[in-house]
């Protein structure tokens, strides 16, 4: 790989651009996985012309509670580390 063709400021710009695009791709991948997982958890009836009662709020709650779960798990791990450190 030959980077000497670009001057430093161009290289930095390029890096920022690529970082942003990679973050975008990771975001999309998270949204696809969450949609798939929350669909299986919340949509149990045969699809109708509208969502069944409770399905829409279940989808939004599923995303929020999954993120709560991730934060909660980090907190539990931190607490366990501290109690071992005492």
């Amino acid at each position: 790989m030959d980077n000497t063709k670009f001057d430093e400021s161009t290289q930095k710009e390029l890096q920022t651009f690529l970082d942003r695009e990679q973050a975008q791709a990771r975001l999309h991948s998270s949204i696809h996985n969450l949609t798939s997982m929350c669909w299986d958890k919340c949509i149990t009836s045969t699809p109708g012309n509208y969502f069944a009662r409770g399905e829409e709020s279940c989808l939004a709650n599923c995303v929020e509670r999954f993120l709560d779960t991730s934060l909660f798990m980090v907190k539990v791990i931190e607490q366990q580390r501290q109690s071992i450190g005492q």
């Binding site: 651009f17 949204i31 929350c38 919340c42 949509i43 699809p47 995303v63 929020e64 993120l67």
Partner: protein, 71 residues
């Protein structure tokens, strides 16, 4: 460009997931052709999966920006 490649990959992934989920839900006993009941189910399932994707997208991005503000 990198940007349009990502958008295309995203749309393709959405179609793949939709096909997979709706086939699983609507075509439980594959026979010699798609029945009209199965086709109705698939049409509705497609609409619901796209809506689900939008709800998840909005909820997730709203939460992520809220987390960023508070931290």
């Amino acid at each position: 460009s990198v940007r349009s490649e990502i958008a295309l990959a995203n749309a393709q992934e959405l179609m793949n997931k939709t096909n997979e989920k709706c086939f699983a839900k609507c075509v439980t006993k594959p026979s010699s052709s798609l029945s009209s009941t199965e086709e109705t189910c698939l049409t509705r399932c497609l609409q619901r999966y796209m809506e689900a994707f939008n709800i998840v997208s909005k909820t997730y991005t709203a939460r992520i920006s809220k987390e960023r503000e508070t931290s």
